[in-house]
Every structure is written in C-alpha cells, then in structure tokens.
C-alpha cells in the first residue's frame, strides 16, 4: 500500500505542499487561477505545523483501522481494501464532523468553501505521486509502497 511518510527532520516549513494541494484540488488546477486574488477556492488537505525550527507537514495517514471510517454515519468515509486509501465520498458526506471528532491526527477539515463536507487527503489517487510529495523541495514527504518495503525502514510493522 502506498503511504506518505513524513520526515519531520527535513520539513523546512515552506508550505509548498499546502499550496500545491490546493491547486490540485481546485477546479482549474492552475496555480495562478486557483489563487486568484489570494483566495484559493479549496482548502489544503495537508497541514504544516510549525513551532520555531520544528515543522512537519501532515495529511491523512490512511490508518489501517481508520477511526474516521468507523465514526462516519453516512458511509461516505470508506477505506479501499486494495489500495488502503481512505476516501471521503463528498456526494455522501453530510458534514456531521464525526470524522473530525475522532481523527487523532486532526487532518480532516471542514471544507466550507466548496460544499459543507469533510475534506481530506485522497493520496492524489489519479496522480503518479501525491502533489505534496512531488512538490516538497526537501523530500520531507515521501511516498512509499509499504508492500515493497517489507522489513525495510518503511515496511509495514
């Protein structure tokens, strides 16, 4: 299963991940258009936390036993058994925020800009590589196929 791994040591707090996430999930998918007048039309699904020189970007961990899936009252939040990706079906989501309530990483957001639904990382499943990973200038984010890294640094534990 492909997972984004975070190397806190090398997050430089530039927040390009957030910017590119917004671009990717915007309607136009064009950076200048998406940020026209400084107002991106969607929220970033990756969040950079920063205090002093410490920072890291965090997005949905696509947990094995995802609490958000268990808490979802509408069946919008599902985990794909094959890819392991946890997706929020925005058509089904009613915006009850139960997922926000239980996500221990705090990476699900209320997307009030688009429609009132929970917004979370979809691992850019239609891209070769999630845009936050691709655009991280310092490789603090890495996408790793845990199945291919069994026993390795990033293997499933």
């Amino acid at each position: 299963m492909k997972r984004i791994f975070i190397d806190e040591q090398y997050c430089i707090g530039c927040r390009l991940c957030e910017i590119y996430c917004q671009v990717k999930h915007s309607k136009s998918k064009k950076i200048l258009k998406a940020f026209r007048e400084g107002q991106p039309d969607v929220m970033s699904r990756v969040l950079v936390e920063e205090i002093g020189s410490n920072s890291f970007a965090i997005q949905c961990r696509h947990c094995k036993d995802a609490p958000c899936v268990g808490a979802c009252i509408s069946g919008a939040m599902t985990k794909n058994e094959n890819t392991g990706v946890v997706i929020c079906d925005e058509e089904k989501c009613v915006g009850c925020w139960s997922c926000i309530m239980v996500c221990p990483y705090g990476v699900i957001k209320r997307d009030l800009k688009a429609s009132k639904v929970a917004s979370k990382c979809d691992l850019c499943s239609d891209e070769e590589e999630p845009v936050c990973v691709k655009n991280c200038p310092n490789e603090a984010l890495k996408i790793i196929d845990t199945d291919k890294n069994i026993g390795g640094e990033y293997g499933e534990k």
């Binding site: 190397d7 040591q9 430089i12 530039c14 390009l16 950076i31 200048l32 002093g52 310092n138």
Partner: protein
C-alpha cells in the same frame, strides 16, 4: 534615516500578476527581505537586505520573483571600480577587515581555460567508454623505491609491501570543510556521497562529529593549528590524516569561530568548552620549520601504527615547489596543494583576492620539481582550488596531479548559489549555517544523491575524454602533458606548465 552610503546589491523584482501571496519567500529568507503585509494582502520586499542567494526565486511556485544585480551607476572610472568604492563605504562604516566567503571572484587568469585537451584520430583509435573498460581508479599514498619480487617455481611472490594507500574509484576527493563552518547535514551529505561513490571526504579542522563516525573509512581527518577534536581515536578511526598548514583562500591566516557559534554539538566535536572562541592560530605553534613538520608527520604515523597515509596541505604560494619538495622529504605520503582560487567560509577579502598563486602553475611546478629530484613517487599530489568541471580535473591530472579535491563544486551540488555570505551564518541553503531552522533545509539524502550525481557525471566525462584520447587507464594520463596544449599563453606560462602551444604537434 542615517546617512547610508552603501547601496543595495540586488533588486527583488516581484511580478504582482504572478504573486499569489503564498509567503513561501517570506518563510525562506533568513535575511528578512520579504514581509507579508496583512492589510494589503501583498508581499513586500526590502531590496537592501537581499544578498543574492536566490533561495526565494528558486522556491517561488509561480516564478513571480526575479533577483537581479543592481549595478551602482557611479561615474565611469576605470581605476576606481564600483567594488572599490563600495568596499570603502563599508569599511568606513565598520572600521574593520572586509570579510568574504567562497573563492576569489576576481578576473585572474584561469589557466584551465587556456589549456586544451587532445583526442585520438585515425592513427590511434579512440576508445568507447560505453563498450570498453575505462579505468579511473586512483591510489593515494607513497610508493617504495623498488619492489622485491621472489620467484618460487612458477609463482611470483611479492616481498615488498606497499605502504598505506587510499583507493579511490575516481580521482576526485571532497576537500576539507569543517563541521562548524558548514552544517552537520552538509557534512553528512559529503561523507555519505564519498562513501557511496568510493572516495573520501575531509573533516576539515573541526573534528569528527559522532554522527559522522560511521563514515570513518571514507574520511580523511585533518590536524590543523587549532588541533580541534584531535585525539588518538580521531586519528586512528580515519582512512588518512592530513596536516593542514594553509588554505588557498587565506594563506598565512588562521581562523576564528566566534564563541556564540560553538554550540553544544560543536563543542563536543571540537573538544573545546561550549561558548568559547575556536581560534585556529595562523601557524601551528609546534611547527616553526620543516623539521618540526617532519616530527609531527612521524608522530602521527606512530599514533596510527603506520597504517594510514599522512599528508600535508599547503596553499599554493610563490615558493610552492621547494616547499612541496620539503614536505615530501619530511615524510608526507601525499601533498595537498590548494590554489589561490580555493574557497573558504570566511576570509579577509584582501587576502583571498591577492595572496597565493593559481593551482595550475603550482601543480606543474611541483610535479616538475619532484620529478627532477627523483622523489615524485614518494608522495601523491592532490590539488585543490576551484575545480569547476571534469575538464579542469582531467587537465589537472595531465599536468601531474594524482587526484583533485573539490569543495566549492560539492557545495554547489548541494545547492550553494555562491552568494559569498558564508561568514554570516545565515546561509539560506542550509549549508554554511548552524541555525536549526536553516540547517534542516539540506536533507542529506538529497545532498548525497546530488553530490553522487555530480561525481558520477564528472567521472563519466573523465572517462569520455580519456577514451577520446585513446587512453583507458587514468594512470596513463597522469603527467602526460603531451595531451595538453596551451592557448593564448606566453612562452613563460607554457614553459612553467610544461606544455606545447596549440598547433604544435607531438
């Protein structure tokens, strides 16, 4: 506003049609050039603070920023160049020595650019490195006078053992840069690239950080005038030891790392109290003559059981040939010569730009002198001082070097933009800084990959050029000046370099 004679060196141009106010530039500039104005929701830039490192430009996702040089349009004067005028303004303000970083940027002759390399045609086939082996493995160490080989029946048995040698997969080593002058992440990148590529890096005079101990077998440790971090363990763990007498950028000058930069980590590595100034005296206070050097060389050999090559690094100065000869005769296994274009973290500008001689001339002079004296085999020659490309390296080897040291090129591979502000400790690329906010910008795994990439690329180019000249082993190029021709050089220069002018056949 106080009278400010000094002027901005750079202009920050921001294309407002492209700026999305994402504040990446604001977050990335350690010089506080950019600032987000919450009222206007725009980013403003203060050009006078810009030092031209191009970090913001590189990371701007919309290419909205361009950093341009700002030419101070003084009245034309061929004698009083703007640089002179600006330096005087700066010094009149500060009353101090003008500091600078990296190698000299003055337009002195770069001899590499006046030397052309050869290729084989018809009479001698060129060799295709893609299809034929192309050997650039290089050894650094002393060679004995002769070999005793015993023949027992049909078997030959070596009776003379070769002294300690460094084995390099490519004739390129990474030159001395201390932890302190550069970040630990930069050190890790250099060390791990050296390991990955089968060559060596040099600790510089800063001692060996415990996290770098795992690269010991690819490490040359330095013993400099401050003796920072030097103990038996340090000497014995490394692959080789280098006594540093001088550095190309600042011959005759010591170093000074201010106490505030001596963090806990650096204090541990340098073995000095935290917060105390780390002063490298100009001379080694136990080396006032060549015989003192000989004693130190043998003291180190004793301490390392004669298992490690011990070398000496000197700046290329006017008298370099006899100096090198003395060093070889003092027992050094290799001599590192640093030309005056070599880099530094901090040096007085006056010295950096005016003291020493170019490495090309120093190398040719030293190689010739050692050959004349019949002692060339006693020590390897490593040259440093601005190896900018594989072609500089191949020319250095043809001029007689065994290998070269690269440092500035290695840092550029890690992202250095040569802004020459290393001495401020605010390197935006995370290289010449200890600020944890900045050092994390250099991810050693990227650094390792980039530097390994450079080493690989240059090695491939060296192989291509070797093959083109019909040579398939680097030792056949070493000192092979027949493959070099000078262009636009005087008779004296050609004669010092020992090469013919372009157009002259064999």
């Amino acid at each position: 506003m106080p009278l400010k004679l000094n002027q901005s060196e750079f202009v920050v141009e921001r294309d407002l049609n492209k700026c999305i106010s994402c504040e990446v530039c604001v977050r990335q500039c350690s010089n506080d050039v950019h600032e987000f104005d919450a009222d206007d929701k725009t980013v403003l830039s203060e050009c006078s603070k810009c030092i031209g490192c191009h970090r913001c430009e590189s990371l701007c996702p919309t290419e909205a920023i361009t950093i341009r040089k700002k030419e101070a349009e003084f009245k034309e004067n061929s004698n009083w160049q703007p640089a002179h005028i600006k330096n005087i303004y700066r010094q009149a303000d500060s009353g101090g020595v003008l500091l600078t970083g990296m190698g000299s940027d003055k337009p002195h002759t770069v001899y590499w650019d006046h030397i052309l390399f050869n290729a084989a045609q018809v009479t001698n086939p060129s060799i295709d490195p893609l299809r034929e082996p192309m050997e650039i493995k290089t050894f650094i160490g002393a060679k004995p006078e002769s070999l005793e080989i015993e023949k027992i029946g049909d078997e030959f048995k070596l009776k003379t053992k070769l002294g300690p040698h460094l084995e390099l997969s490519t004739p390129i080593l990474i030159s001395a840069m201390s932890y302190g002058s550069i970040s630990l992440n930069a050190c890790k990148s250099l060390a791990s690239a050296a390991e990955a590529f089968g060559t060596f890096y040099n600790t510089g005079e800063g001692g060996m950080h415990k996290e770098l101990a795992r690269y010991a077998k690819n490490t040359i440790v330095q013993v400099a005038s401050g003796r920072f971090g030097v103990d038996r363990q340090y000497l014995r763990s490394a692959a080789a030891v280098e006594i540093k007498i001088g550095q190309g950028a600042k011959p005759g000058i010591g170093g000074h790392l201010p106490g505030e930069k001596v963090t806990a980590d650096i204090s541990g590595t340098r073995m000095i109290p935290q917060g105390s100034d780390a002063i490298s005296p100009a001379p080694h206070h136990d080396i006032y003559s060549i015989e003192d050097l000989a004693q130190l060389i043998f003291a180190i050999k004793e301490a390392t059981d004669y298992l490690k090559p011990v070398g000496v690094k000197v700046s290329a100065v006017h008298n370099i040939a006899p100096i090198a000869s003395g060093i070889v005769r003092a027992g050094a296994d290799f001599v590192s010569i640093d030309g005056f274009r070599g880099g530094t973290g901090a040096a007085p500008q006056a010295i950096r730009d005016n003291v020493g001689i170019p490495i090309e001339l120093a190398l040719a002079a030293v190689d010739t002198r050692l050959r004349e004296e019949g002692i060339r085999h006693k020590a390897a020659i490593i040259v440093a001082g601005s190896m900018r490309s594989s072609s500089d390296i191949i020319k250095a080897i043809a001029l007689g070097a065994d290998a070269v040291y690269i440092a500035t090129a290695a840092l550029i591979a890690l992202g250095c933009h040569l802004c020459q502000k290393c001495y401020t400790g605010k390197c935006n690329w995370g290289i010449a800084t200890q600020d944890p906010y900045l050092t994390k910008r250099l991810n050693p795994s990227i650094g390792t990959r980039k530097l390994s990439g450079l080493l690989r690329a240059w090695s491939l180019e060296i192989k291509e050029m070797l093959g083109g000249a019909g040579i398939n082993a680097i030792e056949s190029l070493r000192g092979n000046k027949e493959h070099l021709r000078g262009i636009n050089l005087s008779e004296t220069e050609l004669s010092i370099l020992g090469i013919k002018h372009a157009g002259q056949a064999w």
